[in-house]
């Protein structure tokens, strides 16, 4: 009864908050409306929808032993307390994606992103994470690729693997581009990001050799050193001689990140990757908590309108109409296919009781979605004119500050050169014009929030702290992704020549790491030389790829539901699948077929080729134009390949589902047989 009353109150408050958000027009709205709407919707989704899915759709069986209990080896399989698993799982899924995507999508106003983040997660992303986690737990922790192969067939398995590898390469490239753009021409940012590397190595040596395994004390020392690094960057920025040592152009920084990525992938994990993983996890949890408290304390007004004129499709940050591009731009935070890989990776091997999948799968994603809401707030509390000045590439608004402010003011978002200069000065930067990629504008937003909470000082330090924070976990994703990509490539190449598959054979390690790095390094390089900032091309490609991976995961889930006789519940995953298939296909169609050179890859390439041939381009642009033309064509072909793969997987799933529905034989379920849990084990074990 009490549960019902609480539910009704939440529903009323949530509906009121959403109504308030949607109906507020022409006056600033307070950030607390977004927070309230979010909290109500997540709690309602968790208490009612997720509970219903667990009970009816999945028929979670609390008395059934989990793989962690049955196969407990003290290492991979360990029954773990649910809040500890929740922490591990959240730390694994929460990356830079939910921070960057909503920042870019704010060009449509605060409303579209907010609505999609709230409903996309509660009905799509959380459901996907929870159901894949459950299905993997029932199958001894099998990976998404293995489940696709065993439940749908060899084609589904191959598609899941190929899709994973491709999205990984695009993902790393786009994140590396975000970091490079954040450091470009900023000695302070460059120094504080560079400093994280020797700090991580020092911590790695400490925790391996000086005090083996003392992770907590090492992390605390590392955090202090990171803060010293940020302060040191400010000091270096003041010195005329020293600042030149850390002042680099985009291509120089790209070359550095590429070389770094290769080295990080071939040295032992304990030296760099593992210690930085610890530091980034601590930073991430700390900053997210601090941000949540600060937003409630200062409850800022959002200055961005609910909807901007760019919903019609001529947005400066990325091209395309609100449908489907808001759903492509915000992938992580609403639905992220990548999560299905974590949900079918280490997490299912730690689940101590089947009942925990609701908290771990659904709950973690709800929290990640809340992080995305905070990113919306951080982006939209800026003056819209400032937001567009930071996030729009010089190729769109002009390289000259006066031209840029004139263009942006003419869109209806007044901003002045003086205002931008003052802001840059207060943030300790030379300029904040055309700092594309989302990280700098997010850092300005976060710095404003933090400095108003903790006293209006140290704005520049907060800004560079926020940049360092974003860079640290982007670099972690780059290293970890390159390494996993290398393993996948080695596994694949091992089929052709055995030694290449040996993960300990050094020539193969060097070669396969170089191939993966070359893959993302290429996209990074082209993004860096693109005068429009590169993000406008690469981020939609990443969004499409990530949503397609979600479509593959949801196909596997829907196929398994139907095979296990739950056809009438198949809409739980089938609904989100249909929506993702629709938006990705429409987006892919427009990116491939649109005659608008801003939007279509091929028409963009053709338009640039036309300008190049007619000699309309200045010399500097003409020099890079052939590379940009080739890249747009490549991106177009990649989009076509992604779309074809996804539709083949969906068709394969429908084939299996149809056979199952008609009572024809399908591949046997790979579910492990039920074993009752030992009452004594009890699933705590932590």
């Amino acid at each position: 009864m009490l549960k019902r009353i609480v539910g009704i109150i939440l529903a009323v408050v949530g509906a009121f908050a959403i109504g308030g958000i949607a109906l507020h027009r022409n006056e600033p709205i307070n950030a607390l409306w977004l927070v309230t709407a979010g909290v109500c919707i997540y709690v309602l989704g968790y208490r009612f929808y997720a509970a219903w899915i667990a009970a009816r759709v999945l028929t979670v069986d609390d008395t059934r032993a989990t793989p962690a209990e049955r196969l407990n080896d003290g290492r991979d399989f360990v029954p773990t307390h649910r809040w500890i698993v929740f922490g591990h799982h959240f730390a694994a899924i929460a990356g830079p994606g939910p921070l960057v995507g909503p920042t870019l999508a704010a060009q449509f106003g605060y409303l579209p992103g907010t609505i999609w983040i709230l409903f996309g997660s509660v009905l799509g992303g959380c459901v996907q994470d929870m159901i894949i986690l459950f299905m993997s737990t029932r199958r001894d922790g099998r990976s998404l690729g293995q489940m696709a192969r065993e439940e749908l067939g060899p084609f589904g398995g191959f598609a899941a693997l190929a899709g994973t590898l491709m999205i990984m390469i695009i993902l790393i490239a786009v994140l590396a581009l975000v970091v490079v753009n954040a450091m470009k021409g900023s000695p302070w940012a460059t120094f504080s990001v560079f400093a994280t590397i020797p700090i991580a190595i020092a911590i790695g040596l400490y925790v391996r050799s000086v005090r083996p395994g003392r992770v907590l004390e090492a992390s605390i020392i590392g955090m202090i050193l990171l803060l010293v690094g940020v302060a040191g960057g400010g000091w270096i920025d003041q010195s005329a001689q020293l600042r030149g040592m850390f002042d680099y152009s985009g291509p120089q920084l790209a070359a550095f990140v590429i070389g770094y990525g290769w080295l990080a992938a071939i040295i032992p994990v304990w030296l760099l990757l593992a210690p930085r993983g610890y530091l980034s996890t601590f930073l991430k949890l700390g900053v997210i908590g601090l941000l949540a408290i600060s937003i409630v304390v200062i409850h800022p007004e959002l200055k961005m309108p609910a909807l901007t004129r760019f919903i019609a499709g001529d947005g400066p940050i990325f091209a395309g109409k609100i449908f489907p591009f808001v759903f492509i731009t915000i992938a992580c935070g609403a639905v992220s296919g990548f999560h299905a890989l974590v949900s079918s990776g280490t997490t299912p091997k730690l689940i101590g009781s089947e009942a925990d999948v609701r908290l771990v799968g659904y709950g973690s994603m709800a929290l990640e979605s809340f992080v995305a809401i905070m990113a919306v707030i951080a982006a939209t509390l800026l003056d819209p004119g400032v937001y567009f000045a930071i996030n729009t590439g010089a190729g769109v608004v002009g390289a000259d500050a006066h031209t840029a402010v004139a263009t942006i003011s003419a869109w209806g978002f007044p901003v002045t050169v003086d205002q931008m200069q003052q802001l840059a000065h207060r943030m300790g930067e030379r300029t904040l014009f055309a700092r594309t990629g989302g990280a700098p504008s997010l850092a300005v937003g976060m710095a404003s929030i933090f400095s108003s909470t903790f006293g209006n000082k140290l704005l520049a330090a907060w800004y560079h702290f926020a940049l360092m924070f974003e860079a640290v976990f982007i670099l972690t994703t780059i290293d970890a992704g390159t390494r996993v990509g290398r393993f996948m490539l080695q596994d694949f190449l091992g089929h052709f020549w055995k030694p290449l598959g040996r993960t300990s054979w050094y020539p193969s390690v060097l070669l396969t790491s170089a191939l993966i790095v070359a893959g993302w390094g290429y996209f990074l390089y082209v993004g860096v030389i693109d005068p429009n900032g590169g993000i406008n091309i690469l981020w939609p490609l990443f969004g499409i790829a990530n949503q397609m991976l979600a479509a593959i995961a949801l196909s596997v889930a829907t196929g398994i539901l139907i095979k296990s006789g739950k056809l009438r519940y198949s809409w739980v995953t089938g609904g989100p699948l249909a929506w993702l298939a629709l938006i990705t296909t429409v987006a892919a169609w427009q990116k491939v077929m649109s005659p608008d050179p801003q939007l279509g890859f091929f028409s963009g390439a053709a338009a640039l080729a036309g300008k190049l041939a007619s000699g309309a381009l200045p010399a500097a642009r003409a020099a890079v134009a052939p590379k940009l033309i080739f890249n747009q064509q490549l991106d177009g072909w990649l989009t076509i390949i992604f779309t074809v793969i996804v539709w083949l997987v969906i068709a394969d799933m429908l084939r299996v589902a149809l056979r199952a529905a008609r009572g024809l034989p399908t591949l046997a379920s790979s579910e492990a047989p039920r074993v009752a849990r030992m009452p004594a084990v009890g699933g705590s074990g932590s």
Partner: protein, 66 residues
Amino acid sequence: MTAATAGVVAAWRAGWRALRTLSGDDAYERYLEHQAASHPDLPVLSRRAFYVDEQRRKWGTINRCC
């Protein structure tokens, strides 16, 4: 010690234990416990060897996202 202080101390201890488990600070202790309970006849790894092996295992699979 009053009941309230005892409660605070207990909560603090529980929080500290959770933090150690979450970060992996007590991984070696848990490993030793597991080995003692399940395989008392087998030799155990040293703290350092266990740490290095544990990191290799942890980062050999997808455990970070976008």
